[in-house]
């Protein structure tokens, strides 16, 4: 399992946060560049809809930039950011009860190294995983996305989802087992 994606960005961009508090627009842009792909990816995989994901990502960053003065440092900054993402995803789920089912969406964006055949297999695999993830219950889905797209630790996931560490671990456990059962046909390929 590769959770190294998030580790490289684990250090807080402290200088940027302070500059944003002072209203520095360049700092806003730099902070956006740090988090944009993570926020958008989580929103996209959660909603399985590009347009709604853009709305979610926009909401998150607008809230982040306009409420940054109220960030009191009770959690790490990145935990705070991902809590905004989790809340926005859940709010969207409550409002738009039906997302376009992932099987109706053709995913063309995932490209990998290697032969065209290997790339096509990898894309197909990613598509099926995305489809299975989109069918998970919202809290389980969020736990999986926070872990595998951003590499958050179990403790950080619990902070973001505002639950006990045991509950967070339980959500991930459930997610792993449900994915395994839904995609058991892929056992030889992963």
């Amino acid at each position: 399992m590769d959770v190294t994606r998030g580790r490289a960005a684990a250090t807080e961009p402290h200088g940027l946060v302070e500059a944003c508090r002072r209203g520095d627009r360049e700092a806003f842009r730099a902070l956006y560049e740090v988090y944009k792909d993570d926020v958008y990816s989580i929103a996209l995989h959660f909603t399985a809809d590009e347009e709604i994901a853009r709305d979610v990502a926009q909401d998150v960053f607008v809230k982040l930039f306009t409420a940054i003065e109220r960030f009191r440092g009770e959690s790490t900054f990145r935990t705070w950011v991902f809590r905004l993402v989790a809340n926005a995803c859940r709010d969207t789920h409550r409002r738009v009860r039906r997302f376009v089912p992932i099987e109706e969406v053709v995913m063309e964006r995932v490209a990998g190294p290697g032969s065209p055949e290997a790339d096509a297999r990898e894309r197909e695999l990613s598509l099926r995983v995305r489809s299975a993830v989109s069918e998970l219950a919202p809290r389980v889905r969020l736990a999986i996305l926070l872990r595998y797209l951003k590499g958050l630790s179990y403790g950080e996931i619990a902070e973001v989802l505002k639950c006990s560490p045991g509950t967070g671990a339980s959500q991930l456990n459930r997610g792993h087992r449900m994915l395994a059962r839904r995609l058991r046909a892929l056992k030889g390929e992963v």
Partner: protein, 284 residues
Amino acid sequence: MLRRHAIRWLSAYRDGELGPEKARSISDHLERCSLCRAAFAEVAFGSRLAGKLPLVGAPDSLWFEIERGVTRRSRGVRRALRWPRVAAALTTVAIVAGAAWYAFLRQPLHLVRAAGGPSEFERSTVEEHARLVSGREAWDLRTSEIGELRSWVKAASAVTADEIPIERPAEDARRLRMVGAKVARVGGATAAVIGYEMDSEPVTLATARLQDLHDPPPVGRFSKDIAYRFDALRGVHVLTWGVGHQAYVMVSRLPNHGQAGCFLCHTTRERRELIAKSRLEPGT
């Protein structure tokens, strides 16, 4: 020693998230319990699957949308923070406005009959459409791939086509066919012109930077303020709007007011149903 099964701890155990004593007790239990060993294999497989989730880059145009939202909101919020009672009142207004905004978002397009004569941008795009459809004009890029088209537009012009989603709903396999793109002088500006077919009808979409146009369309307060006119000479619908830093003109013979051409960028079933129901309002 664990007296009960260890299933709920297996993910945390596998990911090294348990303390040493707990981890040892799980390890000991797994040696004796085939049920938990099977569950562990399941958890491990599920974890490998989840590791296949790809990180997806945010669209380039997202920043502009955020900037507008921040500028609009932070002006009001900063002043409000100085006066707690005013802040509370403004928060209430923001919540109500947010609900109204959401309700507005669920409305069809705001299609308004255009006032006055066509702009240079509109005239040029209608002529470009006629030339392209008749074959008197060639595309600079012929492609059926949206990804390729987006990259080309970004490299070849000062505008982007990143609003066009690469992921498409299944129905677009029979409804949408991308044709190509070109760069052209339209309305006094260098524009990207994109051609596609929706429901077998050719559609031409021109986009240019607002600042480059001699007579740019007004940028609506909401991205759904769209001006409509019918070009009787050529028998085409012309839709014009501005959003962010770019202006757009769409020309086609699609039914009603040609709004199905908007399905290039609007791909959800819900949104398409709203767009299809849009009514034309008289101009002001």
